[in-house]
């Protein structure tokens, strides 16, 4: 019996365990496997294999019973996830339904999740803009949160490393606040977007820029990506269904199959992580406890290095639930700050308008990206009555507008032979930096459990006065820029959405220099438990304005190399 247990334990022992198979977890696993580390990847959701498990990817519009729409019954059952723009008939199977993993909203928070192998990497918006020192130096310069323990120079080569492998298209724009990277050819802006670019130059000199957004799509160097079994992006804009070409980066199309090919990866789906095991005598983490999603049995796996990449809030949940007599308030939580200083991106506001000019032009074909405004507010110095600033999306489009007046033969003719182009529409949405605060936190509900018997996460995150001022400024500034560009019929909106719908929740396990005021060190190790690395959104000290996934990839790759070099010491 004793021998059997020992053998059993050996079989469940690896050289590293990665919790989570999304963007950051799959990058940690890929790097570890490339470096020869026998790695177990745990994923709470079901397996999703590239192509095979994309049931809707080649469906035609008329093959969807409701032509893409979510039914009223689905909306009623899922008040949270049905707010997400991508929760539609073609991709709903990749989202967590509200009842599957309940949580407590101490304040309104839309927690959008994807529990499957690949996580939200199947669903993300694929925007990949680098951070610069304008971002890493933000907290120190402006006096909020704590100073990041790293700077751009620490991460720049890792950005390059992940960009080359993932495939990032973009232009060398030469902007100090949005460093250039390893780019495949960029996508074109259209004629009205270029017009706006020129107008910005004319009206604001070199202060404000709008560029073609860098995106994680293969737009060149096809032979290189063929090694991963991926092909050029076909401009289908059906990414959320999973791409049969592997045209955009997802864990499923890229890092996971690559890691599996090394022979070093063991992938275990349907494994809901309960906690990280801490050995009081050894003074380090020794493994991970899971609940099998089907049998509901608890099982343990062991490794000398643990990577926690469960996505920002779930990484908080797992650490909070990993209690021991050494860490009664959650693993590594000597500072008492675990779960605090959660922040997000403010996506509340948008501006739309029409453009009367260029009426003889339209566009053809598709592209997977659009325009991007890097932050210009408070960039070099504090210039407004709020801290930090916002990036913004921008695009112009034009379509054929069939005349739907009347009924009968004339209507039918008009529908089948549309010849009237509508006006050019232009639109922008804000992506505001929010300031991490102790009062924005997550904690475990003392009573409520989820269907696996895990404590429910209680989320208490809200906007503040800084966010309100920033919304106002964005609306004023974008309106002014639109007016100066000659756009007409300008409309502003503030939809007052709850935090969370941005799907950029961050923090709670922040990095910092001082164990008294942070959880992680400059290498993403828990100060108090250095063989546990957290390299997803939970580790973010501040949010800046850029879509964060690229930074998580770079963090995960960098930390994986650090872990391997530590193990050789």
């Amino acid at each position: 019996m004793a021998n059997l247990n020992i053998r059993n334990k050996q079989e469940r022992t690896y050289e590293a365990i990665v919790i989570g198979s999304g963007i950051s977890g799959s990058w940690a696993a890929k790097e570890l496997c490339d470096l020869g580390v026998k790695t177990l990847m745990l994923e709470r959701g079901r397996n999703v294999e590239h192509i095979k498990d994309y049931p809707t990817t080649n469906m035609l519009p008329y093959e969807f019973e409701h032509r893409g729409q979510i039914t009223q019954a689905e909306k009623d059952a899922n008040p949270v996830v049905s707010k997400c723009y991508a929760f539609r008939e073609d991709a709903k199977h990749f989202f967590v339904k509200d009842a599957e993993h309940p949580y407590v909203q101490e304040k309104p928070f839309d927690w959008i999740r994807g529990y499957q192998v690949g996580g939200k990497s199947l669903l993300w918006a694929r925007q990949v803009q680098r951070w610069s020192d304008f971002d890493f130096e933000g907290p120190a310069r402006d006096g909020f949160a704590v100073d990041w323990p790293i700077r751009y120079k620490d991460i720049a080569s890792w950005y390059s490393h992940v960009e080359k492998f993932a495939g990032v298209s973009g232009n060398k724009d030469g902007l100090p606040n949005l460093p250039d990277g390893e780019f495949l050819p960029g996508y074109d802006l259209n004629i009205v977007e270029k017009h706006f670019q020129e107008q910005l130059k004319k009206n604001y000199g070199n202060d404000r820029h709008m560029i073609s957004a860098r995106c994680a799509h293969i737009h060149g160097n096809a032979d290189f990506y063929a090694q991963q079994g991926r092909a050029m992006c076909q401009n289908r804009n059906l990414c959320q269904r999973g791409c049969p070409f592997g045209g955009y980066f997802s864990s499923n199309s890229s890092t996971i199959p690559w890691a599996l090919k090394t022979g070093n990866l063991t992938l275990r789906p349907d494994s809901v992580v309960h906690s990280i095991i801490y050995d009081e005598e050894l003074g380090k983490a020794t493994g991970v406890r899971i609940i099998d999603a089907h049998s509901k049995e608890m099982e343990e796996f062991y490794a000398p290095v643990i990577f926690l990449n469960a996505a920002a809030l779930n990484s908080n949940l797992i650490l909070l639930n990993s209690t021991s007599s050494r860490f009664p308030n959650g693993l590594g939580n000597d500072s008492g700050l675990l779960g605090k200083y959660v922040a997000f991106h403010n996506y509340r506001a948008g501006v739309s308008a029409q453009h009367e000019g260029h009426s003889e032009y339209t566009t053809s074909g598709g592209r997977p990206t659009s325009g991007y405004f890097p932050r210009f507010r408070n960039l070099y110095k504090q210039e407004t009555d709020f801290l930090r600033g916002y990036a913004a999306g921008f695009s112009a489009s034009r379509g054929v507008r069939p005349n739907t007046e009347g009924v009968g033969m004339e209507l039918k003719e008009n529908l089948l032979n549309p010849d009237q182009y509508g006006p050019w529409y232009v639109g922008s949405h804000m992506m505001g930096e929010t300031i991490p605060k102790e009062s924005n936190y997550v904690t475990l509900d003392p009573n409520l459990k989820d269907p696996y018997g895990m404590p429910q996460l209680k989320i208490s995150v809200d906007y503040d006065d800084n966010d309100e001022k920033m919304v106002k400024d964005y609306l004023e500034q974008m309106t002014e820029m639109f007016e100066k560009a000659g756009f007409t019929n300008i409309r502003t909106r503030d939809d007052h959405r709850a935090p969370g719908l941005d799907i950029h929740e961050m923090g709670g396990v922040r990095m910092g220099k001082d164990p008294k005021t942070s959880l992680l060190n400059a290498n993403h190790q828990l100060h108090a438990v250095p063989n546990v690395y957290v390299t997803d959104g939970a580790s973010m000290t501040s949010t800046s304005t850029q879509n964060p996934s690229l930074t998580y990839m770079a963090f995960a790759a960098r930390a994986a190399h650090h872990a391997v070099s530590e193990s050789k010491k």
């Binding site: 979510i70 039914t71 270029k194 566009t363 053809s364 009924v407 209507l411 089948l416």
Partner: protein, 185 residues
Amino acid sequence: MNRRIALRHLALISGGLAFIPSCDFSSDDILSAYKNLKITQSQKQLLGNISNVIIPAGEIKGALDIEVPDFILVMVNDCMDSEQQTLFTTGITAFPEFAKGFSSLGNKEKEAIILSGQKLEGDETEAGANNKAISFFLNTTKRFTIQGYMASEYIQSEVIPYSLIPGAYNGSVLISDIQKPRING
């Protein structure tokens, strides 16, 4: 009890003396496929007639030829809330009274009735409530007729084929260089 079945019972009880509009009740069962709506076979027929006025058959098939009424009922049944569903069913029930003898009218007259019904406005009275429902029913029917027709397999494969791969982006195309605007894919 369904209003029509109630009427039929009344007719039987009174020895067939009651006035019954000239439609066939023999198969007027509630259609179980649209369980939220309690739509009868004859109401579905009426919906078919209306959708076929909105997009009639010709050289290219019309709405009824490609079963657009099914699509309309699926959408109303599955994708509308109960308040909208009640408006829709009240509207379809009130329509025969508003458009007396609809099925025997000529095409132009049918079109005129639908157009005027779409513009009806509601008020606080019972008749006003019916008017509101009729206009909601007709506008909903038109919207879903257009959607169901244009996003049908027939249109998107035989008439204006849908392209899953739209081609590389060109951000400044002269409209004068395009032969026919692309609308599918």
